[in-house]
C-alpha cells in the first residue's frame, strides 16, 4: 500500500468511527511510516472533514463522538511512539472545558470538546457541575490557555461570572482566556461579565478560540 493509500484509509476509518480498523492500520504501519504524518496526513483531515459535516448537519453527534473515540484509541498507540522518537504534535493551544456548577447539561460542551480537538487543541474535559475553583485548579494544572465554561440555564449562567470573579480575586485574570457559551448565553452576557470570547454555535466558538489564540500569540 502506498503512503497515499494508507493516509486515505486512516482518514476513512476515522470518519467511519471504526476504532478497530483505525488502530489496526496504525499498529501495522507505525514502524514503517512517520507517526506524525499519519496524524497530519490521514487522521487530522478526517477529523476536520467530519467536523465540517457535523456543522453542516450532514452527520450528527454519534458520528462525531465515534470519530473522536477512534482518534483517542489510535493516539494511545501513536503518542508513545512520538515520545520515543522525540517528536511532538503541534497544538493550537490548551483548553479546559466544563459545564458550570449545578448545571448537568453536557451535550453542547461535548460537541465543542470534539470540535476543539478536531481543530488541533489539547482539550481537558472537566465534566459537568464544575465549581469555579475546579476550573481554575485544572487550568493551572494543565497550563491552559483557555477556560471554556458552558451554561444552559438562566439560573446557572451566573456561575460563569464566578469563574471570572475568582480569576480576578487571585490576580490571574490575565493568565487565562475565558470563553462562555450555552443555550441562554448571549454576546451581551459575555460582554457584561467580561468574558474574552463567546460563540453562538459550537462552530463559531472554534473560530473565536482561534482568533483569541492568534491574538495571544501575537501579543
Amino acid at each position: 500500500m502506498s503512503q497515499k493509500e494508507l493516509f486515505q484509509q486512516l482518514k476513512n476509518a476515522l470518519m467511519q468511527g471504526d476504532s478497530e480498523a483505525l488502530t489496526e492500520l496504525v499498529k501495522a504501519n507505525i514502524d514503517s511510516t512517520d507517526p506524525l504524518e499519519m496524524i497530519q496526513q490521514g487522521m487530522m483531515p478526517g477529523m476536520a472533514e467530519i467536523g465540517d459535516q457535523f456543522s453542516n448537519c450532514e452527520v450528527f453527534l454519534p458520528e462525531l463522538l465515534m470519530a473522536a473515540e477512534a482518534w483517542e484509541e489510535a493516539m494511545k498507540i501513536i503518542k508513545p511512539k512520538l515520545l520515543e522518537m522525540g517528536q511532538a504534535m503541534e497544538k493550537r493551544g490548551t483548553i479546559v472545558i466544563g459545564t458550570v456548577q449545578t448545571d448537568i447539561h453536557e451535550i453542547g460542551k461535548n460537541i465543542l470538546l470534539n470540535l476543539f480537538t478536531t481543530a488541533g487543541y489539547e482539550v481537558h474535559d472537566l465534566g459537568c457541575d464544575v465549581p469555579a475553583a475546579k476550573f481554575l485548579e485544572e487550568a493551572q494544572k494543565f497550563n491552559a490557555d483557555i477556560i471554556a465554561a458552558s451554561a444552559i440555564m438562566s439560573t446557572t449562567v451566573t456561575y460563569q461570572k464566578d469563574i471570572i470573579d475568582l480569576l480576578e480575586s487571585r490576580n490571574l485574570r490575565d493568565k487565562f482566556l475565558v470563553m462562555v457559551g450555552g443555550g441562554v448565553v448571549t454576546q451581551e452576557w459575555a460582554d457584561k461579565i467580561g468574558a474574552d470570547g463567546y460563540g453562538d454555535l459550537a462552530s463559531d466558538a472554534v473560530v473565536v478560540a482561534n482568533e483569541l489564540m492568534a491574538k495571544k500569540k501575537g501579543a
Binding site: 453527534l61 454519534p62 463522538l65 465515534m66 448537568i104 453536557e106 441562554v184
Partner: protein, 455 residues
C-alpha cells in the same frame, strides 16, 4: 406497573457504568439498531406524514430502544433497566385521563388520536425568563384568554436586585415568589382554580421546587408538577427526590423531555424514536400522568424545520395511537416575537401537533432566548388556531406546512429578532401596540389564504 420502590431498587443496584459508556455503548447503538430494524426513514417531502403504520413502527422501535438501554442515574452511575414486558405493562396501566385545577376552572384532559375531531387542550404561557415587575401582569393576561385551560407561569429569576442561582437560597425564594405571583395573577383574572401545569421553571434544583409547592404560596396538588431529565434518559437524585415527594403528596406529575435532533439520537428518525421513548422513562421512573415534549434541532436551534416537524409529528402520532395519555408539545420558533415569520413558523408547528393527535401550547419566539420575549398574543394565536382548526387532518396539515416552510425556511438561520414584551405592549392596559396588531392581522389573513382557520 412496577412500584417506585422497585424502580429505586434498580436505581441503586442496576449495572454500573460511566455516563459516557451509557451514551456511547448503550444508547447510541440502541438507537441505530431500532432505526434500522423498523426501517424508519425521514422524507423531507412529508414532514407530517399520514401514515399509521409508520407511527406504529416508531412505537415498536421506541419500545425496543427503551428495553435495550433504559435510563441512567448520574448520582449512582447505574443503568436503570426494564424489560419490554414491564414497559408494556406500565403503558397499559398508566392513567389515560388526568384532572387538573379546581372549581369552574377544573380541566379533564384525555389523550386524542391523529386526525381527531376533538378540541385539543389549549395550554398557554411560558416558563421563559421574565422580570419580576411584569410577571404578574403576564399571568393575568394569559388567564384572561378564556380558551386557555392550563397555564405555565414565567420564570422569575431575580429577587429584588439579586439574581437567582441554581441551587442557592435565592432560587428557593424566587421559586416561592413565582408561585405567589402565578396564583395571584390567576385570581386577578377571575380564574383562581386554573391549573398551573409547568414545573416551577424558576427552579433548577429539586429542593427549590419542593419548597415552592407549599400550598401557603398558592401551589396545589391539582396543579401539574413537571420533572425534567437531561439528555438523553438521564436522571439524578434531585429529580428522583421530587418524584418521591410529589407521588406521596398525590400531585399530578408530568414528564418533560427535549431530545436534540443532531444530538445523541442522531437524525430525525432516531430523534423521533427517542422522543417517544421518553414516555416510558416518564411513566416508569417519573411516575408521570401527563407528558410534555419539546424536541429541538441543534443547528439551527428551533423546532420548525422539516426534520423537526417530522420528529414531533411522527412521535406524537405514535404516542396518541399507542399510549393515549395526555400529551402536549412546545415548539421554538427561530423568529422573534411580533414578526410575520414567528406566526408562520407557529402555524406550521401547531398544524403538525394538532393533526397528529396531541394538545397544543403556544410556540416560544426567538428560541426562548432572552428576557421578556414571550407575548400574550402568542397564546391567543395558538388558542385561536386550535379552535379554528378542529378536525384538521395530517394530510391537510402536511400540505399547509410545506407551503409555510417554503416561505420561512430561507430565513430560518437568520430570522428576524422581533420585539419583546416591553417594546410592543402597553404595560398599563396590557394591550399590544398598533404595529403588532397589524402584523398579527396580516399573518392571520395570510394563513387563512393557505387554508387555516382562526376562531
Amino acid at each position: 406497573m412496577l412500584s417506585f420502590l422497585e424502580v429505586m431498587e434498580r436505581v441503586t443496584n442496576g449495572p454500573m457504568m460511566t455516563a459516557k459508556e451509557y451514551d456511547m455503548k448503550v444508547f447510541i447503538p440502541a438507537v441505530k439498531k431500532a432505526v434500522k430494524k423498523y426501517d424508519i426513514k425521514f422524507d423531507p417531502e412529508n414532514p407530517c406524514p399520514a401514515d399509521d403504520d409508520l407511527a406504529d413502527r416508531i412505537y415498536q422501535a421506541a419500545l425496543d430502544l427503551y428495553a435495550d438501554c433504559g435510563s441512567y442515574c448520574t448520582d449512582t452511575q447505574r443503568n436503570i433497566r426494564f424489560t419490554r414486558e414491564e414497559i408494556e405493562q406500565a403503558v397499559y396501566e398508566c392513567p389515560k385521563v388526568v384532572y387538573f385545577g379546581e372549581g369552574p376552572d377544573r380541566v379533564e384532559w384525555r389523550g386524542r388520536m391523529p386526525d381527531d375531531n376533538t378540541l385539543p387542550n389549549c395550554h398557554v404561557g411560558s416558563g421563559t425568563e421574565t422580570t419580576e415587575n411584569i410577571a404578574l401582569k403576564m399571568v393575568e393576561a394569559y388567564a384572561n384568554i378564556s380558551k386557555a385551560k392550563t397555564v405555565s407561569v414565567p420564570a422569575v429569576t431575580n429577587v429584588g436586585h439579586q439574581k437567582s442561582q441554581a441551587g442557592s437560597p435565592i432560587e428557593t425564594l424566587a421559586g416561592i415568589n413565582m408561585m405567589r405571583l402565578g396564583r395571584e395573577g390567576l385570581r386577578r383574572a377571575g380564574r383562581p382554580g386554573m391549573p398551573i401545569i409547568d414545573h416551577v421553571s424558576t427552579c433548577a434544583a429539586g429542593i427549590s421546587t419542593i419548597a415552592a409547592s407549599n400550598p401557603d404560596f398558592g401551589a396545589r396538588k391539582s396543579d401539574g408538577w413537571i420533572i425534567a431529565p437531561h439528555a438523553e434518559f438521564k436522571i439524578n437524585y434531585s429529580s428522583l427526590n421530587q418524584v418521591a415527594y410529589f407521588t406521596n403528596w398525590g400531585a399530578n406529575i408530568g414528564q418533560e423531555a427535549g431530545p436534540i435532533l443532531g444530538g445523541y439520537a442522531g437524525g430525525p428518525e432516531g430523534t423521533a424514536i427517542t422522543t417517544l421513548a421518553y414516555a416510558f422513562h416518564g411513566i416508569l421512573i417519573i411516575r408521570a400522568t401527563y407528558h410534555l415534549t419539546y424536541p429541538i434541532q441543534m443547528f439551527p436551534v428551533c423546532s420548525t424545520t422539516p426534520g423537526m416537524i417530522y420528529v414531533i409529528s411522527t412521535s406524537s402520532q405514535a404516542f396518541a395511537r399507542n399510549i393515549g395519555a395526555p400529551y402536549y408539545a412546545l415548539g421554538y420558533a427561530s423568529a422573534g416575537a411580533a414578526t410575520r415569520q414567528y406566526f408562520l413558523e407557529s402555524a406550521a408547528y401547531l398544524a403538525a401537533i394538532q393533526s397528529s393527535g396531541i394538545g397544543v401550547e403556544d410556540v416560544h419566539p426567538n428560541k426562548a432566548v432572552g428576557i421578556n420575549q414571550a407575548l400574550p398574543i402568542d397564546s391567543e394565536f395558538s388558542c385561536s388556531f386550535a379552535h379554528g382548526n378542529i378536525g384538521i387532518t395530517r394530510k391537510d396539515a402536511n400540505k399547509i406546512i410545506k407551503k409555510l416552510q417554503k416561505i420561512y425556511l430561507p430565513t430560518i438561520k437568520d430570522a428576524p429578532k422581533g420585539r419583546g414584551m416591553l417594546e410592543c405592549y402597553d404595560m398599563e392596559t396590557m394591550q399590544p401596540d398598533d404595529e403588532l396588531l397589524q402584523v398579527y392581522d396580516d399573518a392571520i389573513k395570510e394563513l387563512k389564504g393557505l387554508g387555516l382557520n382562526f376562531k
